[in-house]
Symmetry: C2
Subunit: 216 residues, 2 copies
């Protein structure tokens, strides 16, 4: 049976989920696929690129909602409120997108760390940021600002989720802590993310006002 690019990717994700990023080595991946290490380099030029492919696999689906198959168009029933071109619930859509990305990262061990490394190496797809930017544009933001807002929100999603995930790993791996100054009370799972997301969206909502004011 010949090895296909997709098999390498799937094998890598399996090792990631089961043993974590530290144990995801090219040699270990090769032996789990019953192949010599060098064989992997026919399918991927290097490890960084393989990690970026994992990142895309994890996030790209979250960035493109299932297109919500219009539930078999019932031509007789007129949709209420569906005629306005401008999406009134842009904030709901933006928040939903952000949560989908967080969930996708959390659904794989060390997912946020892998993604962070891939984006730092500038090898992963910009689809997630573009999806966020599109939601901002739906909210009436000019494209340039939407791009910046999307990048800012995505930075937050990656960083915050990485933080949560490393906290999880520390907790499961024999937690002791609650030491000296635990930065006040640690928020429960997801509370911190939701709070930061709320701040961000509140900031976007306040933007038209802020433009007249003086930003600090």
């Amino acid at each position: 049976m010949q090895l296909r690019r997709h098999d390498v990717l799937a094998g890598a994700i399996t090792i990631l989920d089961e043993y974590g990023l530290a144990d995801l080595t090219m040699r270990r991946l090769a032996s789990s696929l019953g192949v010599q290490p060098g064989a992997l380099y026919w399918h991927f030029p290097n490890k960084q690129t393989l990690l970026a492919a994992i990142t895309d696999e994890i996030l790209t689906e979250a960035a493109t909602p299932p297109t919500l198959m219009p539930p078999t168009p019932m031509p007789s029933t007129p949709m209420p409120h569906s005629s306005t071109a401008d999406n009134a619930a842009w904030d709901v859509a933006l928040a939903a997108l952000a949560r989908r990305m967080r969930d996708a990262l959390l659904s794989h061990r060390d997912g946020a760390e892998v993604a962070s490394a891939s984006y730092a190496a500038r090898l992963a797809s910009d689809a997630p940021q573009e999806a966020l930017a599109a939601a901002c544009i739906d909210g009436g933001m000019p494209p340039h600002e939407a791009g910046m807002a999307a990048r800012a929100l995505f930075s937050y999603i990656l960083g915050q989720t990485m933080d949560e995930q490393s906290r999880m790993q520390m907790d499961s791996h024999g937690a002791l802590e609650e030491s000296a100054s635990p930065l006040f009370e640690s928020p429960t799972a997801g509370e911190g993310f939701e709070f930061g997301l709320g701040l961000f969206i509140g900031g976007v909502r306040a933007l038209p006002t802020a433009r007249d004011l003086q930003l600090p």
Copy 2:
């Protein structure tokens, strides 16, 4: 001449600035200090801890402003507006703190990446987040929310700065790009950071209002 912990740290930062994180190996650091690799392990238990010490060195100073030596107390001149206990310019202070942290990270090659790794490993000091939280409390936020806001803002600072820094490195290392979809127009240096910071602070400012509304 005996090696001291501080010398190891200084040597590591020198290699980081000159050659980058990829070239900062324990063996290379040892030979630059004229010592065997094993010697480093008397001063630091492992490489991760050394990297965390670098992170603290880079960020702790930025988190604790120079205390603004009260310019030789002139007891005769009464300070105008200085009697209010509540800091009215909390947003200015918060933004200034965030900028100091960004600047500190940018002042060392791969600084944001080193910090990101250290915080992911949960080995770096929480002083930066605590400083941000204190500024939020000065703005009237309850401690629990201030902690969450500080974590969120710090995640943003780390992520966005890492993004900028990796972009810089790509630009200097033979930039081609401006390819297919450059996520609209790339912001000029610092513009992206300021915009996201403005969103975040706008969100904090809008918090009391938002608490009555329904967050999405």
